[in-house]
Symmetry: C2
Subunit: 356 residues, 2 copies
């Protein structure tokens, strides 16, 4: 059975508490947007696509049992809750986009005098539920496009992949973005090996990606973030594939801290560097990466592990959660559900695809 | 009072147990070479210069109370113990060099018929004790050469330094190699800021360098190994300074895993990259870095922190302790006790200096 980070049946939402992984697999019940906001903020669920799906589903489960006396009350309720959900993790664009989409929808529905609050509520709940299904389908298409692009450069050989952070079933509604490409390669018996970085300070690679690698019986190895350059010098790495928290108009990509460094090192060794980015993670309202606000997270993430102090008392820390990889370092391309594109052509290609 | 990793008075050797830092400062008593070998192997003491000094002093404390009935017995004893000490940490060249030096000395003394076992024993003990003093003096000269070289490129400004692993008082007999340069800058009121990496998987940066930074009241900040590129993009870094476990004839440098990656990233950002290498760490018997044997260490270092599992059960690991930075990436130069040299001219300069 595939790993599920989000378990949803109409009116009931359970999230796998990723803070307890890899030692315990426990689901937490999410009854409303406050529960959803907290789970995102505490990083019990993470990964830009999963955040949006889980956040919106937390709104759905809150909406389902609730009665509204008029349309305005319903619209105000939904819009306020969406705005609130966006504040849980500001760097991830998917939640913001979902909030904009559903806010626009609510405004539209409100203009139609024949729609009762109940009808509108059911429409919006159905649309949110559809997100979950769409996300998996988008990932599968990305997996195929990315996988075939990598294989096309390898003759008949299998691929050896390096990935960073967690972008698998645990970060999405299922299948995964960057790890979805690895999953596709495995399904075609074309995965020679996958390396994953620890991804300090939060260890998403060591805890989550490694967990998925073991769960899926992939041939895989964990390395420290500091070992990437030596790995590339010693072993033939076919490609680096990472996910994205936000890709902007010119193809610059914000992703987990450490991504930019891996891209520099990959270029130095001539290893193609890919960013897997569903179009929901693409944000062309920002011209380039300098406009992306980078979240800084608490120092305790660096100085302690599960309550054990690992750094000298009194030392100051700098803990940016993300960095920005300039488009010119994304040498393999940006993998979307519409195909693999150069960063410089991404805007045009996504516009074309969406206008079809 | 300066931090002391090695406390020695004739016949008594105490080592600060660095595995307990930064939470506890406890000294362990070393009574013989077996204690010394264990302390090095368990990494209670680490850093190439400190390993050699501590290893040889462990031989001195074993020799002092011991009686030998003839010269051959003494020579065999010393040579065997030196060979044994070399096996504790094979990558560090200093212990090997010290073993060669004292083995040659013993052979030489044995040829002089007027020397009794007691006289020879006292001579070798005195020479070993001199190592401790010499190491501190060498570091101070390196600090000044390196510090002045960095400042010469900054006009009247202060320096912002990034360092990796631990190369301070804890890694040497005192003062430090790369951190000795930082100490020199601080003493001249020319240290604007020092950043240190965590240095996964053993966290020597977070535990030891951060401890020294706090102890010496340096303006300093801890970062993860994955944050180097973003730090260089965001802040003006004057120089990277790292230590070395071994520098070979062509200027290639073996140092803590992650060093090679930082050198690539520094070159990408135009930040000068320095390696602090006392001539005792220079090994011109190997032509280039490809000939350096890299130690691989246990997986547990990566998967657990103080007994707490941090990686998914069942995942395979790769844990090389060192990597090799090619001389062409050492753009600032190699800092020795004789001056700062280009990697390509190192062999000639060290030969010249030693022949004076």
């Amino acid at each position: 059975m595939t790993l599920e980070a989000i378990r949803y049946t109409s009116g009931s939402l359970m999230l796998l508490d990723q803070l307890l992984l890899p030692n315990k697999s426990e689901y937490i019940q999410i009854k409303n947007t406050e529960d959803g906001w907290n789970a995102i903020k505490k990083m019990q669920i993470r990964g830009a696509p999963a955040i949006a799906v889980a956040g919106c589903l937390s709104l759905a489960v809150e909406l389902i049992p609730k009665q509204f006396s008029n349309v305005k009350e319903l619209v105000d309720f939904v819009v306020t809750k969406l705005e609130y959900l966006v504040t849980s993790r500001p760097t991830a664009v998917n939640m913001l986009d979902a909030a904009k989409l559903y806010t626009a929808r609510m405004t539209e529905y409100a203009k139609q005098p024949d729609l009762t609050p109940d009808v509108i509520k059911n429409k919006i709940v159905t649309e949110i539920e559809q997100m979950l299904e769409d996300d998996v389908n988008v990932n599968k298409r990305m997996g195929q496009y990315g996988g075939e692009d990598i294989l096309s450069g390898l003759g008949n050989s299998s691929a050896t992949i390096l990935t960073h952070c967690n972008t698998g079933s645990l970060a999405t509604a299922g299948y995964g973005t960057a790890l979805g490409v690895v999953r596709y390669l495995q399904s075609k018996q074309k995965l020679d090996h996958v390396y994953c970085t620890e991804t300090r300070p939060y260890n998403q690679g060591a805890r989550l990606t490694a967990y998925e690698i073991v769960y899926e019986k992939m041939p895989g190895t964990l390395i420290c973030d500091s070992m990437v350059a030596m790995l590339m010098k010693k072993n033939k790495i076919s490609a680096v594939i990472v996910g994205a928290d936000r890709v902007v108009a010119n193809g610059d990509a914000a992703n987990k801290i450490g991504t930019y460094q891996i891209a520099i090192v990959a270029k130095h060794h001539g290893v193609p560097f890919y960013v897997a980015c569903p179009s929901t993670t693409y944000d062309d309202t920002l011209p380039d990466g300098d406009h992306i606000v980078i979240e800084e997270r608490p120092h305790g993430e660096m100085t302690s592990v599960n309550g054990t102090r690992i750094a000298a008392p009194g030392i100051g820390c700098w803990n940016p959660a993300f960095d920005v990889t300039p488009g010119e370092l994304i040498t393999g391309g940006i993998i979307t559900e519409f195909g693999v594109f150069k960063p410089s052509e991404l805007q045009q290609k996504i516009r074309q695809a969406k206008s079809k």
